[in-house]
């Protein structure tokens, strides 16, 4: 346990260990779901950009396989927290520890922009997600499976420029899923989509999360989206976790149901009050 709590840089993974994880995953593949995700523990995490202290001490434990949404006003540090967890930024102080040592392909990020390579066909774009396994013999088969998972099997040979915004984002999702990550971080992945596409994408995210059992972290502006998808909603304010709501509602959740609306109202009220208090800053 002590060893497990030590923070590991994502690329410093001994070979024998990673083989072990791979074998364990092969065994698990029969019974997808539970225990695939990684739990993570964050202790007194701080991040400053110059004089600007964005995160001022985050303490957080996320159990394996949980779906956590992180909401907050813009500039509150929610995206920074996500980038730290994904290893895209270095923390100024504090630690992030995963329950097991992680390999690069165990943690994946999906951004607001699809970030597809315009000069690669859809299938090659998905293959990019395999990381170091790109050269392996079954790379193409795995990429095809991931494309089927997001319902774009027939678009494998297309250029990204002919896809719609929602389809591009689904390709990005397939690329994130193809390495079968154990932690998936979403940085406003649906922010640029129209309302109807958003809803169907939310259902797709929920489905793949349930199928694959990874630990999901969703940063979003949209409180309705947060309560519809997550088991737990964190409100971040001024670089700290201000509120931690559990969402104990059965799935599939009916959009517009009274419980969801009530919870959404509570969280929104909290966010708005927070903004009034600090509006003269």
């Amino acid at each position: 346990m002590q060893q497990a709590l030590r923070f590991q840089p994502v690329d410093a993974d001994p070979v024998d260990r990673s083989e072990f994880i791979e074998q364990a995953r092969q065994l698990r593949r029969g019974s997808e779901g539970a225990a695939r995700g990684l739990s993570l523990t964050i202790r007194d995490l701080r991040k400053s950009f110059g004089d600007n202290e964005v995160l001022r001490g985050i303490d957080l434990h996320i159990p394996a396989g949980q779906f956590v949404a992180i909401v907050g006003r813009s500039g509150c540090g929610k995206s920074t927290l996500l980038r730290l967890i994904a290893g895209l930024e270095k923390a100024t102080a504090g630690s992030i520890a995963f329950s097991e040592e992680v390999r690069a392909q165990d943690v994946r990020v999906m951004f607001q922009e699809p970030r597809l390579l315009p000069w690669a066909r859809v299938l090659s774009n998905v293959e990019v997600g395999l990381g170091r396994d790109r050269a392996s013999a079954d790379a193409q088969a795995r990429a095809e499976r991931a494309l089927l998972e997001v319902g774009l099997g027939d678009k494998r040979g297309q250029w990204p420029s002919v896809l719609s915004g929602g389809q591009k984002q689904r390709v990005a999702l397939a690329r994130a899923l193809v390495s079968r990550p154990r932690v998936l971080a979403f940085d406003e992945p649906l922010g640029a989509l129209d309302a109807l596409t958003r809803i169907s994408m939310q259902q797709m995210l929920e489905r793949v999360w349930r199928d694959q059992g990874f630990t999901a972290m969703l940063v979003t502006h949209d409180v309705a989206e947060a309560v519809a998808l997550a088991e737990r909603v964190l409100v971040i304010e001024d670089g700290r976790i201000a509120e931690d709501f559990a969402v104990d509602l059965p799935r599939p959740r009916r959009r517009g149901s009274a419980e969801l609306a009530a919870l959404e109202g509570t969280i929104l009220k909290h966010l708005l009050e927070g903004s009034e208090e600090t509006s003269d800053l």
Partner: protein, 268 residues
């Protein structure tokens, strides 16, 4: 792909062939009007020989083997000079786009040299190299260098940083990142440089060959001027136009081949 092909064939069966001819309507019309103007005596043949006379002069030169020889010499000079200048420009563009140190070391110098019109160096080049091949190759290489350099550099610097971050997240090595993200991203800009460079290549060669050469198309035109063979002068000019068009078409074909992902090169 094949579906799109067949659909467009069904809906517009004859259009593609007509489309290919449209660009040639204006040049053909000009030649026709030119011929008429000469035949009616509106334009004296001392000023401008009729297209038929030019064609006749071309035929004679073709038979004597002089035309082929001169075209070949010019073509060879253009390609070798282009290859030398283009590859050096490309190499510097890559180096300065990818490495800050390299850029700090050489970019300022290159920008200074760029502002010297390379044709202004002709007197110096003749003193250095005389009028043999190296003088022409040097000038062509120098002229071609800058458009390729500048556009390669610009292309690499403007590759979407979000895509580079994505590549790093997904564990691409530096080599892979270059091959899969940076180079394809810079390619459209590199092609702009290529087409500029092709134009400069012919321009430089013509000037160099008319001033200091003992063979080649420019030399052929200058010789003809000495002997008042105006039809040969016009012939040389027309051949330059055709060669320029040929180079442009070749680069366009290459563009279509490598940039098929680009929305601008996809079928409507």
């Amino acid at each position: 792909m094949s579906l799109i092909d067949s659909v467009s064939r069904v809906t517009a069966p004859k259009l593609p062939r007509v489309d290919g001819l449209i660009p040639w309507i204006v040049p053909l019309a000009i030649i026709l009007i030119w011929q008429l103007a000469c035949v009616t005596g509106f334009v004296p043949s001392r000023v401008l020989p009729a297209p038929t006379d030019v064609a006749l002069a071309g035929w004679k030169l073709l038979l004597s083997g002089e035309l082929i020889k001169n075209i070949w010499v010019s073509f060879w000079r253009a390609s070798i000079g282009f290859l030398i200048g283009g590859s050096i420009g490309f190499a510097f563009g890559l180096a300065n786009g990818l490495s800050k140190l390299s850029s700090q070391l050489t970019d300022t110098t290159l920008q200074m040299v760029r502002n010297i019109p390379h044709l202004a160096l002709i007197p110096l080049v003749i003193l250095w190299f005389g009028i043999d091949e190296s003088a022409k190759l040097f000038l062509v290489a120098l002229g071609v260098f800058f458009p390729i350099y500048l556009n390669t550099l610009h292309g690499i610097r403007t590759v979407d940083p979000q895509l580079i971050e994505m590549g790093r997240i997904y564990g691409m090595t530096d080599g892979e990142l270059f091959r899969r993200v940076i180079f394809p991203g810079a390619l459209p800009s590199i092609f702009v440089g290529l087409r500029f460079a092709l134009g400069i290549m012919w321009l430089t060669l013509i000037v160099a060959e008319t001033i200091a050469a003992s063979s080649g198309l420019g030399y052929m035109a200058m010789q003809a001027r000495e002997f008042m063979l105006i039809d040969v002068v016009v012939l040389s000019i027309l051949i330059y136009a055709l060669l320029g068009k040929l180079a442009d078409s070749a680069s366009r074909a290459l563009e279509r081949l490598t940039l098929s992902w680009h929305p601008a090169f996809q079928k409507q």
